[in-house]
Amino acid sequence: MNPIIANLLTEPVGVSHYVVVGAFMFTCGVLCMATKRNALGILMGIEMVLNGANLNFIAFGSRYLRNDANSLGLDGQLISLFVIVLAAAEAAVALAIVLNFYNNTGSIDVDGADQLRG
């Protein structure tokens, strides 16, 4: 087997690997926001972005991935807890906005929401 693939299986993964996964989820989330016309799809994109960020916090705070003075330690987990909670709050507000938008326009297509166009 190739050394790189073998190493992935036999050596502990590091912060880098977590960050790459986080980056992937982040990118997917951004693209989701950029390509979905459904307002709920955009919300899901936001959830994914936040989740990708969370993954980074957890990774930077984990003692299994990186054990040095620069590690975030418990702060990483605390911050990600806040992120999760605030994400829930944000989802509630966003849903309310979406609902309002739907009540006003009869549609949840965000492309219809371009009254601020220049």
Partner: protein
């Protein structure tokens, strides 16, 4: 067998097609009805050539030169390097060429030095055409591993194409009605079939191609170079009655002349300074060198095989006594180059004479000009797509696998003569070509034109590889590409044969009608995009060669950050290649039929056509592999022919910062290059699949509409034809027009103009002072403000999703900017 058989066997392989040509020339019309026997004769001849070539390879060359595993050596090499800490130029052991010399002296000497030594070759003259003072024109040979490999490749593909053409050209066996030529009477042209003539040209072409490969000196190369050109002319213009075909033939011929002009200049520069045309050293029976060839003159053993101008190349040497022009003057240009590269340029006395380097540059670039023409590189790339007017077997043989590859071959053969600066020119040409051609291929809908642009792009890859110092990479890609591209062309020919159209927009779903063609073509497509398992080293043939090129590009890019574009262009090219090749495959074979009538009448081609497809598919799949259990592998064979210049890290003389890296260093970039190549190819494939196969929401028509300007830019082939029309043709016509106009109207115009000047003068004052200056300033200001406002307004789209895109793009830009700042 004894090595003295080598020239004999290859000469036999070379001359058999010539015999076939002569026979068909005189008796072709009488060989069966419309010359049916001519086809068989030509095919037999080329198969015989192939047999000879392979006998030469397996019977003579390999027994005398057992293959070494190159990768094993490179590993050792890396170890040595890492121990030394820096990349030291390896002190090369003595070339064995002298001891080798004429046939019969094969000592079988090889072993651990094989990698570092000058390649082993046999060279001699067969026949002296004439001696004019110092100028000696001869017919000779220069045979090394590359020659043998090329012989095998060319003869094998040519055999397949011949067999294929037996079936493909059967329309020509009887009176032929050309549906594309309409006479003034409104009827279609009816003419007797020209089956025999086709094979006559093919035989002549094979002869000429073999001639280029076997040639022992550059003058002989030039002769066969032109012969190949004329064959190409004949074959493109095979349907001479068609306007498009005859125009294309002319275009190909004329464009090639432009390149050959440069080649002649290069030839003269070389000859006038070196006094010889021969590649290698001539030896007598005792093995003493009687006459040095170009390679050993320019890269002497004493100088670690670094390129150094010879005494004859430096003008007015007396005026600059300090210059290190003499052969003994081991003030060593290479080390001087390094020193100046490290910023001590001003410390040196300003008497350094670069004339020799300039001359080498002129010679190298001049020779390369010929290759630009033949290999359809930028800016002379317009003729190759038009050459698709010829019958498909011709496209497969001449315009993809062999003739256009001759340019690459010549650059490879000439490698020791090329200075780093010339290599840089080559690399940039290849880089531009590969990108331009690949982008054009995205929008083309003619199946053969897509392949033609793909060919140009792949040739660009090879040139790029050579220009970056990746000799093995380029030559290896030349060979793998020959196999899969001829396969692709023959598959497209099979499709055209079955559907009777070139237009991909009328195809679709043909997979079910012609399965053999479809799946062999799939093999070809996978091979050209370099499909393989990353890091595992298992893949189609293109996987190995393309990865090698990208590795070399990475290696080069790391040594020369300034030329980063040369590093990333092949990566981008891999993405585009994967996209357009699978676009082609999906449009042709997958999905639903777009033209039901054509689909209903489509049929699989006869066995005489599909059999070569299968054979070539096997080669396209496996030509990069080692024969199981042995070292028998194309790269190992090429390794034996590696020219001396590629295993040293060389520095530019004129551009001191330029570094052409040692090719073995490329292995350090195995992992990133492999991953990048795989990633880009996979994403290109994915994109093509999403657009053309899955009903995913990406529709080609919609894309075409959205990117209208881009699409028409590519559809019109970057306006190359139009530009040439405007730059070269129109001015010529206009210039002559002007002359006549002046001639006729000179007097009148003088009188009229004097009146007009008065009138115009007052108008000008009015226009300039009053309207333009006074009004204009005010209006321009107002207009500018207004326009800026309007333009800025566009950014404010109000669309949430676009804002997200702006943010993402802004992030990326910020990142890039920061990384730049940090680098400074």
């Amino acid at each position: 067998m004894d090595p003295s058989w080598l020239p004999k066997l290859l000469a036999l392989a070379w001359l058999t097609p010539l015999a076939s040509f002569v026979l068909i020339l005189f008796f072709g019309k009488h060989m069966g009805s419309h010359g049916k026997g001519a086809g068989l004769l030509a095919t037999t001849a080329i198969v015989f050539s192939a047999v000879c070539s392979f006998t030469a390879l397996f019977g003579v060359w390999l027994p005398n030169h057992p293959l070494q595993d190159a990768s094993h050596h490179s590993a050792q090499h890396e170890e040595v390097d890492s121990h030394a800490g820096v990349s030291v130029p390896i002190r090369l052991v003595a070339a064995e060429a002298e001891g080798y010399g004429h046939a019969g002296h094969a000592t079988g000497e090889h072993g651990e030095h094989a990698n570092n030594a000058a390649p082993k070759y046999i060279t001699a003259d067969w026949y002296e055409l004439g001696v004019f003072g110092k100028l000696k024109l001869t017919i000779g040979y220069y045979i090394d591993a590359l020659t043998v490999a090329m012989f095998c490749m060319v003869s094998l593909i040519a055999s397949c194409v011949h067999i294929y053409a037996l079936g493909y050209m059967h329309d020509e066996l009887h009176d032929f009605t050309d549906p594309e030529v309409t006479l003034t009477s409104g009827e279609n042209l009816k003419r007797p079939g020209r089956y025999y003539r086709f094979f006559q040209y093919l035989s002549l072409f094979c002869f000429s191609m073999f001639g280029i490969v076997i040639a022992g000196n550059i003058a002989m190369v030039f002769v066969f170079w032109e012969l190949v050109g004329i064959c190409s002319y004949f074959l493109i213009g095979f349907y001479i009655e068609r306007k498009s075909a005859s125009t294309a033939a002319n275009k190909a011929f004329i464009v090639n002349r432009v390149g050959d002009f440069g080649m002649l200049i290069g030839l003269m520069a070389l000859w006038s300074s070196l006094g010889t045309f021969s590649f290698g050293d001539m030896t007598n029976e005792q093995g003493e060198v009687t006459e040095q060839g170009m390679f050993s003159l320019l890269r002497t053993e004493e100088n670690d095989y670094h390129l150094q101008p010879t005494a004859g190349m430096v003008f007015e040497g007396d005026r600059f006594p300090e210059c290190n022009c003499a052969t003994g003057g081991s003030g060593d240009t290479a080390s001087a180059g390094e020193a100046s590269g490290s910023g001590e340029l001003h410390a040196k006395p300003p008497t350094k004479n670069h004339a020799g380097q300039w001359l080498l540059l002129v010679a190298g670039v001049g020779i390369f000009c010929g290759c630009v023409g033949k290999s359809a590189q930028f800016p002379l790339l317009t003729w190759l797509p038009d050459a698709m007017e010829g019958p498909t077997p011709v496209s497969a043989l001449v315009h993809s696998a062999t003739m256009v590859a001759a340019g690459v071959y010549l650059v490879g053969r000439f490698f020791p003569v090329l200075s780093p600066e010339a290599l840089l020119v080559i690399a940039y040409t290849g880089c531009i070509t590969l990108f331009v051609a690949a982008t054009i291929a995205i929008t083309a809908t003619d199946i053969k034109r897509v392949l033609a642009y793909s060919t140009i792009s792949q040739l660009g890859y090879m040139m790029l590889a050579l220009g970056l110092g990746g000799w093995i990479a380029g030559m290896f890609h030349l060979i793998t590409h020959a196999f899969f591209k001829s396969l692709l062309f023959m598959c497209s020919g099979s499709v055209i044969h079955g559907v009777h159209t070139n237009d991909m927009t009328e195809m679709g779903g043909l997979r079910k009608k012609m399965p053999i063609t479809a799946y062999t073509m799939l093999v070809g497509c996978l091979a050209i995009i370099g499909a393989g398992v990353p890091l595992m080293g298992i893949g189609f043939s293109g996987y190995y060669s393309k990865d090698a090129i990208i590795e070399q590009a990475f290696s080069f890019g790391v040594s020369n950050p300034r030329h980063w574009i040369l590093q990333w262009a092949p990566v981008a090219g891999a993405f585009i290649t994967a996209f357009y090749m699978f676009r082609l495959w999906y449009m042709t074979f997958a999905g639903k039929p777009r033209n039901q009538e054509r689909y209903d009448h489509a049929h699989e081609s006869p066995r005489v056509m599909t059999a070569p497809l299968v054979l070539l598919a096997v080669f396209a799949l496996g030509v990069g592999w080692a024969f199981p259990g042995t070292n028998l592998k194309v790269t190992n064979l090429l390794e034996q022919a590696r020219p001396v210049g590629t295993l040293v890290t060389s520095h530019g003389e004129l551009l001191p910062a330029l570094v052409i890296p040692n090719e073995h260093d490329a292995h350090n970039f195995l992992v990133p290059a492999g991953l990048w190549a795989f990633g880009t190819a996979a994403s290109g494939l994915l994109l093509a699949t999403m657009i053309y196969l899955w009903d995913f929401g990406l529709r080609p028509e919609e894309l075409k509409r959205t990117f209208k300007p881009l699409h028409s830019w590519l559809w019109n082939k970057w306006y190359f034809d139009e530009i040439y029309e405007w730059i070269f043709i129109k001015p010529t016509k206009m210039f002559s027009g002007w002359i006549s106009w002046i001639d006729r109207n000179i007097f009148d115009s003088i009188i009229h103009s004097s009146a007009a000047i008065c009138k115009g003068g007052s108008k000008v004052v009015d226009a300039i002072v009053d309207r333009t200056l006074v009004d204009g300033t005010v209006n321009t200001l107002a207009r500018g403000t207004w326009d800026t406002g309007l333009w800025l307004r566009k950014i404010q789209t109000g669309s949430l999703r676009q804002y997200v895109m702006f943010i993402a793009a802004g992030t990326i830009l910020l990142f890039v900017a920061i990384s730049f700042v940090q680098n400074i």
